[in-house]
Symmetry: C2
Subunit: 337 residues, 2 copies
């Protein structure tokens, strides 16, 4: 049994984009589980944009990570020692285990993973939080109908790729916005998007979107915000539905940014904008996972993973993800299965 746990803690609150020096690598003893707890060894750590919010002490829906505290994050792991009757040594679990190699957690806060549904890492992607986020954020908030035009920002991200593919399953015309030509090719050539463009090189985001959406925009799934969303709003149709999942363009600004006001456009278009957190759908997770697993088995959902190696690689991989350098779901492998 290992006795040393390597952890990444928050060293300082970042101003603008996080730097590697905002994190510390620390060593601590591996703890033992008390009654109701388990000790786990993490296999994959998930890196996600929401974590940028936890590094800030601004008012939010979740408590920020304290300075010196282990960074928060989801991971898949194997149970090494159990004081919870419902979990056995060797079970695969998923939960908020943090940026560390070993964790002691309450058994009831972990989700047991059925490895027959897919590789263990999918519990952090298509069969985990990103999959459920795409599923409920698109289907419950927007109810897309066959033939409608669906635009997705952050289209090549872990959530965006699934939103686009689910919209295709529903018979929609899907237009993706992403930040590199390689991502655009992937969306068009492998994931079946009807159109996509690189917002970083498009001379005119609004004009490009207008060309790619000749029938206007019925549904918009927003991971990014900022200028892309400004352009989309000018092109929405009557009764458009907008699901707001993330605003990654705003997370690393040193000063809040101003933008055009568009509530008048919502009136004229009788349109809805709805923010959501996947945690708001917790009671319906089994329904979502069942459907996602079926589509995965049917080959209707494809995914890619971008895997960094070792806990010490997590800060740089996280910063790269915030800058859009990952291709597919960003993971960090912490140990072998």
């Amino acid at each position: 049994m290992a006795t040393v746990n390597r952890q990444i803690t928050l060293a300082s609150r970042p101003v603008g984009f996080p730097k590697v020096s905002d994190f510390h690598l620390v060593y601590s003893p591996v703890a033992s589980p008390a009654a109701g707890e388990v000790l786990v060894r993490s296999i994959y750590l998930s890196l996600d944009p929401y974590m940028r919010g936890r590094m800030s002490d601004a008012d939010s829906y979740a408590r920020p990570v304290a300075i010196g505290e282990v960074m928060t994050g989801g991971a898949v792991a194997l149970v090494m020692d159990s004081q919870d009757a419902k979990l056995r040594v060797g079970d695969a679990v998923e939960g908020m285990l943090g940026w560390q190699e070993y964790a002691v957690a309450q058994g009831r806060e972990l989700r047991k993973i059925d490895q027959r549904l897919g590789p263990i890492s999918t519990a952090l992607g298509v069969l985990g939080m990103p999959g459920l986020t795409a599923f409920f954020g698109l289907l419950d908030v927007c109810d897309p109908q066959r033939g409608e035009t669906v635009v997705v920002s952050g289209a090549a991200g872990a959530v965006g790729t699934l939103v686009g593919q689910i919209a295709k399953i529903k018979g929609c015309r899907v237009v993706g916005v992403a930040g590199s030509d390689a991502k655009i090719s992937w969306l068009l050539d492998e994931l079946g998007f009807d159109a996509a463009f690189n917002y970083k090189t498009a001379a005119d985001c609004y004009g490009t979107l207008k060309d790619l959406c000749p029938d206007g925009i019925d549904v918009y799934f927003d991971n990014v915000g900022g200028a892309i969303t400004d352009a989309v709003l000018r092109l929405i149709n009557v009764k458009a539905r907008i699901s707001v999942c993330g605003q990654i363009s705003q997370y690393n600004l040193e000063e809040p940014e101003l933008g055009p006001r568009w509530l008048g456009q919502l009136i004229v278009k009788q349109a809805k904008v709805q923010g959501f957190l996947v945690s708001g759908y917790a009671e319906r997770f089994p329904e979502g996972l069942r459907q996602l697993a079926t589509w995965l088995k049917q080959g209707k959902l494809k995914y890619r993973e971008d895997v960094a190696q070792g806990i010490e690689a997590a800060p740089q991989a996280f910063i790269g993800m915030l800058r859009g350098r990952n291709q597919g779901k960003q993971l960090v492998q912490l140990s072998e299965l």
Copy 2:
């Protein structure tokens, strides 16, 4: 039978606030109704903020008024001559009759008024478009629950006063934002609002709202937009619902205004913002009017009217309303009942 019709036409498209010189008073012969049409004499003309949009040729949900065309607007009128089997001479009707003393209209585009429900002018207020706007925009979009805090901007307007009173009927705590101390007194002393403040003299809109809404804001009915809405958004609760009815602060700007971005707040609060047009509820108008008439009869809905005299007074009264100088529903009396 009168032979001369006095009309107000659009003389020029205003830049910023309309001026009296943007309108013309013209004389024309009174027309005769063809098959299916009626000739009516208007009693009251309604003046409403949406008309500012019709004076502009920017893209909107409705065709703009052309230069030289009679200004569009709702009115109540008496039938003088009928070529429609469903309407008789002397019937009271409501419809989009325009800024003029006489009109020829399609009988099927007019709503027959039951004068037993209230004075004929109420068909332009509590028992007309403003009443239905308040009813569906509050109840259908926001579904306010007993004990929730409801904030209304433009609270002393034709729609705002009714939104506040309907929210009180539903057992909510109601906070109004309006633009004069006289309006605030009226909201507090006569209409039963729990709190209200004058945004024009409040040193700090956000701080004042925060004091007046100690439990946060669950529902916001927005007629105004701009800085008031910016302040409200910072104070919304989880699962807040925002109904966007108007944006009068923006209608007369010479250049579009920038504002803070707040989609991140919608995510954190899992909140909804919904724009609407009352016309989207046309099929449910009878249901709304029935309930409004019942509340009116029960004394649960109070209203005031600000009545200008004569068609020639309409431009100045309209400009005054855009500047918030009216107290209660702005009407123009065009003839005696």
